[in-house]
């Protein structure tokens, strides 16, 4: 599968990573060769095979429906690059 430069840019946009022109060029080749290599999975007959959802056959446990956390706003924002009054501060989103 060849990934062209426009696709690389579209994917980078979806992944929210800014890439330079030079990086886009390099990634075009790298991503194409990785995707070419994984194409070999096409040889495997997976007709009637269920996709794996878990390696260990356990059912998810349910816990009691009670508050187990909370009142930790100061801990939550402690590592934020910018915060104010226990809120995360980001650039203006709505005009």
């Amino acid at each position: 599968m060849h990934v062209d430069e426009a696709t690389v840019r579209r994917i980078a946009r979806l992944a929210r990573i800014k890439i330079t022109d030079e990086e886009a060029k390099d990634l075009e080749g790298e991503l194409s060769s990785i995707l070419d290599w994984v194409e070999q999975l096409g040889e495997v007959d997976t007709e009637n095979v269920e996709p794996m959802t878990r390696v260990v056959p356990i059912s998810l446990k349910q816990r009691d429906d009670v508050v187990t956390d909370g009142q930790k706003a100061a801990d939550v924002v402690a590592n934020a690059p910018m915060s104010e009054d226990d809120f995360f501060v980001v650039p203006k989103v709505v005009e």
Partner: protein, 492 residues
């Protein structure tokens, strides 16, 4: 006085119990070794001497009172993927910057509850993505092993390269590590140490920086198989905070080490005889078969027909899960922020500046295979192949109790030798990745030296939650092969 840093974990435990030395003396000896060696080896990204000495002092008090835990006073290195409360945790990525968790990972909390001492945080490939420790934002780790007659720097494997090198160089008694596609076993093989990846669900993933959640599993890197048994016993637990952690008894692994392998059925998969395996690795495999046979095991040829598809399927599933897990690094809640002209621009600038090349590559691959129109062709296909890989093992377990393979096709390689070509590097995990795909336990035990005097490992793969059998089979290999120590401490 003996060199305390050379002790194994179990020897040190016995020495502390005998009052041959104190936890403080032991900790000081290791801190001194770190101070002398870390500049050359780069194992630790953050030594924590004050923290270590305070813990050691508390351990000495508990020992005096007769109140010692299972790992009381034993100094460990902690991979920088485990969140440690109040102690910087970075996953060796710039994007986490000066992140100081307000909580402790379950695995490390278990260790501290048992009385262990933290010497510091260990280097790893950025977000555990790599097989040589060359992708770390803190620079590469140097393998304490060198080729005979050479001073060229070799890689310690990855992603747990700081863990493997620190254990091999006696800069800790044992270390925590994590394994998504081989990140415990491959570095162990390349440094002459023991690396154990438990069954998926055996150790809690809570508080461990996530890479690929359906594959990630914590485990120890140690000097001996016995030490791996000690560490795993404490690291493993059922944790309500991780819904995939399994509520299963954790046996006393050490107690059954001496039981040997008489009557054990050992499988040898023909699909692992690949082109590109070194003659040495191949010869060592034969040697391992002979050792187990001599000890009373029976050897059986088996087939794991989908082996060759494990690595390509992994390079769809792991990046897909990584792209999702790493979406949290947005420059808003923790870590670094590079301000942009608006919010989206801030995300993009932050992630461009914060992630290294390999992490970006994998996030982009993951984003691509999950994007609209491609999900069925890539991700769903890979998950179906994964079912077949697990099915291969399920069939094998009718015939055998463990599977024996080499851990890696070849010994430690030089810096830069494989980092230019992602695919070449990915092939390092060719023998280890099937184990993660099937969620099984695996252990790498050092078994011999290459022609150039560098270590090689053998891998044992076991049934789900049968780590005890793996450890006693590993003990049999260790008994036959002997231990492998770095011939010269050139870094001192």
């Amino acid at each position: 006085m003996t060199d305390l840093t050379k002790l194994t974990l179990s020897e040190a435990r016995d020495g502390l119990a005998n009052k041959d030395f104190s936890a403080t003396e032991l900790t000081k000896a290791l801190l001194k070794a770190i101070e002398a060696g870390n500049e050359d080896l780069n194992c630790y990204v953050l030594p924590t001497p004050d923290h270590a000495l305070a813990q050691a002092k508390a351990s000495d008090k508990r020992i005096k009172k007769g109140d010692a835990g299972e790992l009381e006073g034993l100094p460990l290195g902690i991979k920088d993927l485990f969140c440690t409360e109040g102690v910087r945790t970075t996953a060796c990525s710039n994007i986490l910057d000066d992140f100081k968790p307000r909580y402790e990972s379950t695995v490390t909390a278990n260790l501290w509850d048992a009385g262990a001492v933290m010497l510091g945080k260990l280097n790893n490939d950025e977000f555990a993505m790599g097989s040589s420790n060359e992708t770390s934002a803190f620079g590469p780790v140097v393998n304490p092993w060198r080729r005979e007659g050479s001073t060229d720097k070799l890689v310690p494997g990855g992603s747990s390269g700081g863990s493997s090198a620190a254990v091999a160089a006696d800069l800790c008694l044992a270390a925590t590590a994590t394994d998504t596609g081989g990140s415990i076993r491959q570095p162990a093989a390349l440094t002459g140490t023991v690396g154990m990846k438990p069954t998926y669900g055996r150790c809690s993933r809570w508080g461990t920086v996530a890479f690929a959640s359906s594959l990630d599993q914590a485990g120890p890197i140690t000097k001996t198989v016995r030490d791996a048994a000690l560490m795993l016993k404490v690291m493993a637990s059922h944790d309500p905070k991780d819904s995939t952690s399994v509520d299963a008894d954790v046996p006393d692994y050490e107690a059954t080490l001496k039981d040997g392998v008489k009557g054990l059925r050992v499988g040898v998969p023909k699909e692992y005889r690949i082109d590109g395996m070194s003659k040495e690795a191949s010869a060592l495999w034969e040697q391992g078969i002979a050792w187990l046979k001599d000890a009373g095991a029976t050897i059986h040829d088996i087939s794991l027909p989908h082996t060759k598809y494990a690595l390509p399927a992994y390079y769809i599933i792991a990046p897909a899960e990584a792209s999702s897990n790493l979406a949290r690094y947005d420059g808003v809640r923790y870590g670094m922020r590079k301000p942009g002209k608006d919010l989206i621009d801030t995300y993009e600038e932050t992630r461009e500046a914060g992630f290294g090349a390999e992490v970006k590559r994998r996030v982009l691959i993951g984003t691509y295979v999950l994007s609209a129109g491609y999900y069925d062709a890539y991700y769903l296909k890979a998950q179906k192949v994964r079912t077949l890989i697990k099915g291969d093992f399920d069939t094998a377990w009718d015939k055998v109790d463990v599977v024996l393979t080499p851990t890696t096709p070849s010994p430690a390689f030089a810096f830069g030798e494989k980092s230019g070509d992602p695919l070449q590097m990915y092939l390092e995990d060719i023998f280890t990745v099937t184990v993660n795909m099937a969620g099984l336990p695996g252990i790498s035990v050092p078994a011999g030296l290459s022609g150039q005097g560098t270590p090689l490992g053998l891998q044992l793969i076991g049934k789900p939650f049968d780590e005890a059998t793996l450890l006693r089979a590993g003990q049999t290999i260790e008994d036959a092969a002997g231990r492998f120590s770095v011939p010269k401490r050139w870094w001192v």
